[in-house]
Symmetry: C2
Subunit: 194 residues, 2 copies
């Protein structure tokens, strides 16, 4: 659930500010949703609040960590070390939320210098993934190569793919794909203007 992560993020801020307790109204406002929705979302996992008071920031935060399975730093690999891929390696936002890109893979390992993670050949993929227990990959290769690379990722044991190429990927059951289609987002935006 998308929104849980959002709540979690805002709880971290409250915690950092030493705030011990928060109402559904306040937290919902920070996350940009309605209070009832937040409460519904939370009760899907159990009851965490105290009536008349609100939610204990620390306790709720712990529960969400658990629910989200964000307990530990998740290792992620990058497939495709082009412009976008390289930028994603440097992007600070992932680390902040508990993800670390631990290696990049590319058919052509030239830009190694600019990256700050090991850049490996695709043929090292299988061993690396098995060895490090990696479950997730970020896919930032050209659309033409996307499906072929996905097949390799899946064969290597990757279970979740964050896909930046504007293609409909074919994956077996059990493998999850999350698409981020940048051009589509812009197009959508332009549609809603005027």
């Amino acid at each position: 659930m998308y929104r849980l992560s959002l709540y979690y993020r805002n709880l971290q801020r409250l915690k950092a500010n030493q705030i011990a307790t928060v109402s559904s109204a306040a937290l919902a406002k920070a996350a940009g949703v309605k209070p009832t929705q937040l409460r519904k979302d939370l009760t899907y996992f159990g009851q965490f609040g105290t009536r008349g008071l609100g939610y204990d920031v620390e306790a709720l935060s712990r529960k969400l960590t658990e629910a989200l399975g964000t307990a530990r730093l998740q290792p992620v690999i990058l497939a495709g070390a082009g412009n976008l891929g390289a930028a994603l390696v440097h992007y600070g936002g992932f680390a902040k939320e508990g993800f670390e890109i631990i290696a990049a893979f590319d058919a052509d390992p030239r830009r190694a210098a600019e990256l700050r993670v090991p850049l490996l050949r695709m043929n090292a993929l299988h061993a690396f993934v098995a060895d490090r227990g990696v479950k997730m990959a970020i896919l930032a290769v050209p659309a033409t190569a996307a499906q072929a690379v996905v097949n390799e990722l899946v064969a290597a044991g990757i279970m979740g793919i964050l896909n930046f190429s504007p293609t409909l990927l074919q994956v077996p059951d059990g493998v999850v794909v999350n698409n981020v289609d940048l051009a589509l987002e812009l197009e959508n935006l332009s549609y809603f203007i005027r």
Copy 2:
């Protein structure tokens, strides 16, 4: 509507392959939706198909161009020329869908060399936007600066913002924000694995 752009994209491919006519079943499959949904989506604008035959690729494509207001090359500016911003300037996917990043703005104009568009100071924003009739901006600044920059963008006349910073932006009515929260996407993905 998100899916319209998707249909449009696939129609372009068909057109490139000289295919004159397509059924809702075929186009829906390519776009990853159900045929009925595609038909519902299309009839929201009018009736374009011929029963027993399908849709004329050329005609439908034209209708969608019109409906999407994608008539042609929309100029976009970039606010924030850090890693992510720079990568977005180089990202080929935008141009392919009819968007061109025509300038970047940053408080600190140092990385100009790496960019292939003019890198301007924020104080040049207002004049530039007015002059070139820019309606859309991509926001790729640190979260802490996001709201301040948005305020400037809005003041300059920007009506649509593609926001890459993990923040809930405050904008006046009529201004549209589309959020792309990369860390959230990864987190969401990790939630759906196992």
